[in-house]
């Protein structure tokens, strides 16, 4: 039996915060260290992500994805490999768009891939560009990712994470959709109209992907 001593993420954050308190250094050291460790997104990536999630699920008569913090959830999900993001995307499909000269992206590196795709579509500065420009670029990226043969596209995983984050948020689950933890009865046949809202509490999306 061998035993290894490793610092986990919580310990790393803890030691960085302690260091920051001791020497009075600003707390971005922690963020920077974590980012270099591949564990959290950089501030620039977070700005991009906030624009992207809102473009995918915008504010309507209910909150949009940015308002409910889906950007943070996507970053967390990437760091922890949700929706298969720790497996390299597209490694078996050499014709997928990817960063030149680099291996297929996984985890938070998917954000580098996304950034390059946005630039390729002419987005420019994600801070100042208009919603329409971002939406147009994402529409192109999205259409390409759902073309035949692109099943392993990184965008499919990112989009899955965005939808997961939104529809499991309180607003997404209870205001955009309906949530009833204890239905108390089974009605086997009810009329549905185009105005009928779907359920977030039928669990099918979480159980079956």
């Amino acid at each position: 039996m061998s035993s290894e001593v490793t610092l986990d993420r919580r310990q790393l954050i803890g030691s960085a915060a302690l260091l920051a308190a001791l020497i009075g250094a600003p707390l971005y050291i922690k963020l920077h260290e974590d980012a270099r460790d591949g564990r959290t997104a950089t501030p620039d990536q977070m700005v991009m992500l906030r624009r992207v999630v809102e473009a995918v699920i915008p504010r309507t008569d209910t909150p949009g994805a940015a308002e409910v913090g889906v950007d943070g959830f996507v970053a967390l999900g990437l760091a922890h490999g949700l929706e298969g993001t720790l497996a390299p995307s597209g490694s078996s499909q050499p014709n997928l768009p990817r960063l030149k000269g680099r291996p297929a992206p996984a985890g938070l590196d998917l954000l580098d891939w996304l950034s390059e795709q946005l630039q390729r579509e002419g987005v420019g500065d994600v801070v100042t560009t208009t919603d329409a420009v971002i939406e147009r670029a994402l529409t192109t990226i999205d259409a390409a990712a759902f073309a035949k043969g692109q099943e392993a596209s990184p965008w499919r995983k990112l989009k899955a994470l965005i939808l997961l984050g939104y529809y499991t948020s309180e607003a997404g689950a209870t205001r955009e959709l309906r949530y009833e933890l204890v239905p108390g009865r089974w009605d086997a046949d009810l009329p549905a109209t185009p105005a009928t809202r779907g359920w977030s509490s039928d669990w099918t999306a979480l159980t079956f992907g």
């Binding site: 995918v56 989009k159 949530y179 239905p183 009865r185 089974w186 977030s200 999306a205």
Partner: protein
């Protein structure tokens, strides 16, 4: 000889709970030994009512953690962030598989209540097509019992646990003592009509499930949440905690120890009796020896085999009650696969309310009175159902922005799935052994699983896929997926066999009362006792066999014959 207990029951899952209940109700002083932690009904279902937005990973769970610690368990459909504490940590609970074979997904729950907390709850009787199968085609040894031996015990079990279902008069799937059935939804009714009007030999009926539609014994009827595996404070589905454990406790004759891993069954060569067990108390870090007049093994099929194989002595160098050398062989698990998934257009005007915790079944129709599918022996049946998709459909199609959000606001397309489960043939080459080269944290050798589905199982899966496609197309479905090969062994979570029942002590481990041929006070009443697998879910049969074995054990004890 003076013993501390009348009976020791090893394992507190579906059958262990039943053994504890039946034996205490018969007046025996019983020790129930559970390897995992205590879980108190209700108060320990910590995640039961937590909404997704309050879960750290929104219910999807920490995939990085799962890859490291739950690499096998995460494949279970009931495994998610809410239920992960009801499954074992794979890294801490390793097992070996035979190199070059197909591997085995061993899904386990080490805690009070065992897999009764996470089970699929489908509750089917076996018929004489099943108990007579080995004798009819010569695979495996003959079952030493028939349906008539078990029918009253099925009645007893169904009445107590609460099974909802419909009375159908299907010869291969005998009717039982049912609470009112849950209803088919509109799409399932449509498909039922199409299938039953096209095929004289087929029926589509609601799944018979241990989710109650009427309250009983202080338990509430189902609330239609369909989050059973988190634990149900309503007690609406059968688990040890909701059902058998309170019944056993009320007798005042039950002692429960948790965090106690049984390492061996002790045997006295002079009297040829099991004298008790030695367990390791993982909380106090000490070994404890306990004695009893009866020992019941209910550790779960493979762990019961493992325990018996490890319980060696001069009298039993190859494992207790294993003079035959059969112990560990002829293990089975139902080959299963997604035979069809079809989109069902034209039903957009229909929806449902509530989450029904059971699906539909199409009972076995192949190779019953005639060999009408000559490419394989025995049969298969389908479980499945029609569901309307939800927001998850958005992951699989192009679209962003307001249009996407508007589309996902509504219920999505109806899909019908049929998942086939076929009979697993008993084969000597599918077997469990002790892997002397690898040891666990307690220095016990690991269990080694050597398993592969065979040509018969593959032929059954191929027929099931072809028939399922034909039925769905006939019902107006658009087939989007259809698999004709079985998923890996273990994925039915119906692993069984290894200590099979039989007439002959030379070719079987247990007699017709689930009692070891070689050790007259040792009983095995979990899945390990199975001689063949049928194709339908086995847990109800394990429970009925347990109740029957307990009754006989008590009679023998009172007569003084053991």
């Amino acid at each position: 000889m003076t013993t501390e207990f009348d009976a020791i029951v090893v394992g507190s899952g579906i059958t262990g709970g039943w053994a504890a209940k039946e034996l205490t109700e018969a007046g025996l002083k019983v020790l129930l030994v559970e390897r995992g932690r205590n879980i108190t009904h209700g108060e320990d279902y910590k995640t039961e009512t937590v909404p997704p937005w309050e879960m750290p990973f929104r219910g999807a769970g920490d995939a990085e953690l799962y890859a490291r610690d739950y690499a096998t368990q995460r494949g279970n459909r009931a495994f998610d962030e809410w239920t992960q504490n009801h499954f074992v940590n794979d890294r801490e609970n390793p097992y070996s598989t035979a190199p070059g074979r197909e591997g085995f997904m061993w899904w386990r729950s080490y805690q009070l209540g065992g897999r009764s907390l996470t089970w699929g709850r489908q509750s089917y009787r076996w018929s004489d097509y099943d108990f007579g199968a080995n004798k009819a085609d010569g695979h495996g040894v003959d079952w030493p019992i028939r349906y008539a031996d078990l029918a009253p015990w099925y009645d007893h079990v169904e009445r107590f646990i609460g099974v909802s279902g419909s009375v159908e008069g299907i010869p291969s799937l005998p009717d039982g003592q049912y609470q009112p059935p849950m209803a088919l939804n509109f799409v399932e009714k449509h498909i039922k009509t199409k299938i039953e009007s096209t095929y004289a030999d087929r029926k589509l009926v609601i799944g018979r499930t241990a989710n109650m539609t009427e309250g009983k014994d202080g338990r509430s009827p189902c609330q239609y949440r369909s989050i059973c595996a988190r634990g149900c404070s309503f007690g609406a589905y059968f688990s040890t905690q909701s059902s058998t454990l309170p019944a056993a406790k009320v007798t005042g004759l039950l002692t429960v120890v948790t965090d106690a891993i049984v390492e061996r069954v002790e045997h006295d060569p002079v009297t040829n009796r099991a004298t008790g067990v030695v367990y390791y108390d993982t909380a106090k870090r000490q070994r404890v020896k306990v004695t009893a007049r009866l020992v019941f093994l209910n550790a779960g099929a493979f762990n019961t085999n493992h325990l018996m194989l490890r319980s060696t002595s001069e009298a039993f160098p190859n494992g207790i009650a294993n003079r035959s050398g059969i112990l560990g062989t002829h293990i089975m698990d139902h080959p299963n696969t997604l035979s069809v998934m079809a989109i069902m257009p034209g039903f957009e005007g229909h929806t449902t309310f509530g989450n029904r915790p059971t699906g539909i079944i199409i009972p076995r129709f192949r190779n019953l009175d005639t060999q009408d599918a000559p490419s394989f022996k025995r049969g298969y049946f389908y479980m499945g159902g029609a569901l309307r998709g939800a927001w998850g459909d958005g992951k699989r199609e192009a679209g962003i922005g307001r249009a996407l959000k508007a589309k996902l606001r509504s219920p999505q397309v109806w899909r019908m799935v049929l998942i086939a489960y076929a009979e697993s043939m008993p084969r000597a080459s599918n077997r469990l052994t002790v892997d002397a080269s690898r040891r666990d944290a307690l220095d016990q050798p690991l269990l080694k699983i050597d398993f592969a589905h065979g040509a018969n199982e593959r032929a059954a899966m191929a027929d099931a896929a072809a028939q399922a496609r034909e039925m769905m197309i006939g019902a107006g479905g658009i087939v989007v997926a259809s698999l004709d090969q079985p998923a890996p062994g273990g994925t039915a979570i119906h692993e069984m066999g290894g200590a099979r029942m039989g007439w002959d002590p030379a070719t079987s481990v247990l007699d017709r009362y689930s009692r070891a041929h070689d050790v007259p006070n040792l009983f095995v009443t979990d899945g390990a006792q199975m001689t063949s697998s049928a194709c339908q879910n086995p847990s109800l049969t394990y429970m009925a066999l347990t109740a029957r074995a307990c009754s006989n054990a008590v009679s023998m004890l009172k007569e003084g014959s053991i």
